[in-house]
């Protein structure tokens, strides 16, 4: 690994960490395709490294959210029951899934993430800063546990946090305020990613020389992102996120169609 590559990995980690803090996503949705497309890492190694980065984002951001009591720790722990099962099983299965099938599934996930964020960006165009969390009582646990199981499976298969699945589910199905749902999802994705990261690590798919600079970048980006978050309108961050995910999906489709992936 050259110094130039390490510096580029730090920059990638910074960008993903900042997105994580600003847009409430784990960053895996950006890291996995960038590592596969531009660093030419085999897809399974890209996923393994991305899972470690997701743990970094979750650990850095949720320590702050838990202390501020924005995270619903009880709800997070309950949903972790099913999301970790999904993640662990999917991580074992991933070794037997064709690389091309994983790449196609990733393209679908990227496009879903972009569409999900488009909805959020549209809703946030007239946003007001809400500091008070309204009273709520999470309900419909069976639906929440089912979606968390699916999100965990996506995490184990694709190296993402799965926040783009968990947040809308908690918000729409369980009646959890969006701010709490985002913080709780960030809290959960660390354990979800850890459940599958151990399996990728055991298979030798966590490339340490790639993971070390990337994770250092993720920590830096998360800290800077959390600091500047109140000064930046989320619509700009979300628009940039949509652009990046659509670009990466396009690149992956191109590589798949030319047989280069």
């Amino acid at each position: 690994m050259t110094i130039e590559s390490s510096l580029l990995l730090i920059v990638l980690g910074c960008a993903a960490g900042a997105f994580g803090a600003l847009a409430g996503v784990g960053g895996g949705v950006i890291i996995t395709p960038v590592l596969a497309l531009y660093f030419h890492l085999p897809i399974h190694q890209a996923i393994g490294v991305s899972l470690v980065a997701v743990i970094a984002t979750s650990t850095a951001t949720s320590s702050v959210h838990v202390e501020r009591h924005v995270t619903d720790v009880r709800l997070g722990m309950i949903l972790e029951l099913s999301t970790t099962i999904g993640a662990a099983i999917a991580a074992v299965i991933a070794a037997y899934v064709n690389k091309k099938a994983i790449a196609i599934l990733f393209v679908i996930f990227l496009l879903y993430s972009a569409s999900s964020i488009v909805k959020r960006a549209w809703n946030s165009r007239k946003e007001k800063l809400v500091t008070e969390i309204p009273p709520y009582e999470p309900h419909n646990y069976p639906a929440g546990l089912t979606v968390a199981l699916f999100a965990g499976a996506m995490s184990g298969l694709l190296g993402v946090g799965g926040g783009v699945i968990k947040v809308p589910a908690m918000y729409m199905f369980m009646g959890v305020p969006l701010r709490v749902a985002t913080a709780t999802s960030n809290f959960m994705i660390g354990v979800t990613a850890a459940a599958s990261a151990y399996i990728y690590y055991g298979r030798g798919d966590v490339h340490l020389t790639v993971a070390a600079p990337l994770v250092a970048g993720v920590f830096t980006g998360s800290l800077v992102g959390a600091r500047v978050a109140p000064k930046i309108r989320s619509i700009y961050v979300l628009t940039l996120f949509i652009g990046v995910t659509v670009w990466l999906a396009g690149q992956m489709i191109f590589k798949l169609s030319t047989g280069a992936m």
């Binding site: 850095a60 838990v66 970790t84 459940a195 920590f219």
Partner: protein, 100 residues
């Protein structure tokens, strides 16, 4: 709203996460400095330690939560947290066996 009242001991969970984050960050910075200094072998070992500390942090925060719920006599949540810990331990054992 009783379900959402934050438990005062949640600060221990936040502290565990913070220690894991800053601890692994510091170790990884040392690993990169060693790599720049040309100490390839030492850099690799240090990177491994940093990544393993980071990967262990979510597990440590589950253990912290179990202690928190047991001390609060919250039997239901203690069982839930123990269940999550069991799943993560099973996956880590499977992972280590793959490594072996």
């Amino acid at each position: 709203m009783a379900e959402q009242t934050p438990h005062p001991s949640e600060r221990w969970i936040a502290l565990t996460l913070r220690l894991g984050a800053y601890g692994s960050f510091a170790v990884l910075i040392i690993a990169m400095l060693l790599a720049v200094a040309g100490q390839t072998r030492a850099a690799e070992v240090t990177s491994r330690i940093g990544v393993l500390v980071l990967m262990a942090t979510p597990t440590l925060r589950i253990i912290t939560a179990i202690f928190m719920y047991v001390s609060a006599r919250d039997k239901k949540m203690a069982i839930v947290a123990t269940g999550v810990l069991a799943i993560v331990i099973i996956s880590s054992v499977v992972g280590l066996n793959l490594h072996g």
